[in-house]
Each structure stands twice: as structure tokens, then as C-alpha cells.
Point group: C2
């Protein structure tokens, strides 16, 4: 098999990995008190609810763009009740599961321009979205600790 | 091509992706004042220097184990001067570059037991190491902001 076609990880396993991270992020959202989600932060950074809304503009919209070439994404960062944010999160979970199998497998190694401005191989664009979620969730862990709340276990993805 | 052998990403591209993250983590280490690396934290969490030493016990040792079955890893978390921590980081960078091509490509999809206790497909074990670095580096970003220091740009990996 030529090196270019040897997998480090397959598309199916990568989606499962991502959804595991998204289950953990959902638990971090749940751990925040409703009145702190869009108000509390450390070091004048953005509140966790705003970061979650950013994640929502990146995940399903990236995969939808990779499938269809439609690069629309919501830009709204207004506060929402936690139940509503969780509803949007779950909606996004279903969208990802529905869209992912529609990506032609060869496309993951192809270079695309996402949202009219980010040009990279599709696997890099998708890893950026996942890494951004992990990065900002790590920030959320510090906010929770600063609030005296024990965050969910990092290794637990079920 | 059977689905199992379609790559989301190839081993070479994954190492490049990881080393990009490691360059960013190196810049975060550099951004910390020497006297804050092993002393400062928020919410009674571990200082960033301790988290970096954890990263050092996971990265090259994981890849060495995958190559050789030798699962030794340092457990020392004692404070070090920043220059010494950066030296260990750079040493680890070279070790990763030397060890990575020695992993037989089929092994990434095989299930291993790392460090005598973590059983998962090798790609999951390696992604865990990378994700743990991103997670704790996100924590480091909050520490820097709390110290009034602007962290390096998240998207910059060169």
C-alpha cells in the first residue's frame, strides 16, 4: 500500500473520537451553574457559554461545508439558558452523525477552503475544530475550579 | 479500498500536526515568567511546569513503547529552570521524530496496552497524549491571562 493511503486513523474512528470529546464537553456545560455560563471568566477571557457557541459555529458547519460547499455558519454569541445551549449541542451531535458519512472518503486528504478563508487539507480543518474545542474546554475546567466546582474526568468519554 | 484502510489522516501528517502543537506548547512555556512556571496556578490546580513535565512523561515514552514494548516513563515532577524544561522539550521533539518512522504502519490500528494499564487502539492512545497536551495548554493560557500576559496565538503552529 503506498504511504499516502496508510491510515493513522479511519474516518469512522475519528468521528467516534470526536463524539467522545463532545460528550465530555456536554458534561462541562452541564457542570456550570446557569447564571455563570455567560457571565463568569478568569483573566478577562470569554465566558464558557460564548466559547460553546463558537464551537457550535465550527463543528457541524465545517462538516456541512465539506459535504456540500455551503459554508454558512451562525455568528450569534448571545447568552442562552443552559437547557437551550444543551439542546443546540444535541442538535449539532445529530447533524454531525448524519453529515459525516456523506463526506467522500478521498476528500479528507484533499485541500479545501473553509468558510471562504481557511485553506488546508480537510483533515487539518477538522482537527482544528476538535483541537479548538479541547483548548477552550480546558479553559472551562479552570473556570469551574475557580468557581469551586469539580470538573468531569478528562479521560471519561462515554 | 475497504473502509478499514481508508485514511482520515496518514501517520506522517499526524506527526506533523502533533509537532505543530508541540511548537505552540513550547511558546507557552517560554511565555511564563521563570518564577511562575512551578508556583502559579488558578483554582488550586497544578502549576503549568508540572503539567509540562506530565506531557514529557507521555509523548516520547508512548511512541517509544509503541516501537519497542519498553514502557518506562519518568515520574519526576520537581521544579526546573525554564531553560532546562525547554531543553527537555526539545530533546523530546528529536526523540519523537526519530521514533515515529519506526512504528510499523499497521500498528496504528492495533490494540496495545500502554504503560501496563491503558488498553486501546494505538491511534487512540496517541490522540489521548496530544489531546491531554492541548487540554492542559488551554489551562496554561488562563494562567497566563490571569498573570496579565498575552498567550501566543492558538492558530500559529509554525
Amino acid at each position: 500500500m503506498p504511504t499516502a493511503s496508510v491510515p493513522f486513523i479511519t474516518p469512522d474512528a475519528l468521528l467516534a473520537h470526536w463524539q467522545g470529546h463532545r460528550r465530555l464537553t456536554r458534561r462541562v456545560i452541564e457542570a456550570f451553574p446557569d447564571d455563570k455560563l455567560f457571565t463568569f471568566s478568569v483573566g478577562a477571557m470569554r465566558p464558557f457559554g460564548v466559547l460553546v457557541k463558537e464551537m457550535l459555529t465550527m463543528g457541524a458547519p465545517m462538516v456541512r461545508g465539506a459535504v456540500s460547499g455551503d459554508w454558512e455558519a451562525p455568528s450569534n454569541r448571545d447568552p442562552l439558558p443552559k437547557t437551550e445551549l444543551l439542546r443546540l449541542w444535541d442538535e449539532s451531535t445529530e447533524q454531525l452523525n448524519a453529515l459525516w458519512p456523506q463526506i467522500p472518503t478521498a476528500r479528507f486528504l484533499e485541500t479545501l477552503t473553509a468558510f471562504g478563508q481557511y485553506t488546508a487539507p480537510l483533515h487539518e480543518l477538522i482537527l482544528y475544530v476538535i483541537d479548538n474545542e479541547i483548548h477552550h474546554r480546558g479553559q472551562g475546567y479552570v473556570y469551574l475550579r475557580a468557581l469551586g466546582i469539580e470538573p468531569p474526568a478528562f479521560f471519561e468519554r462515554s
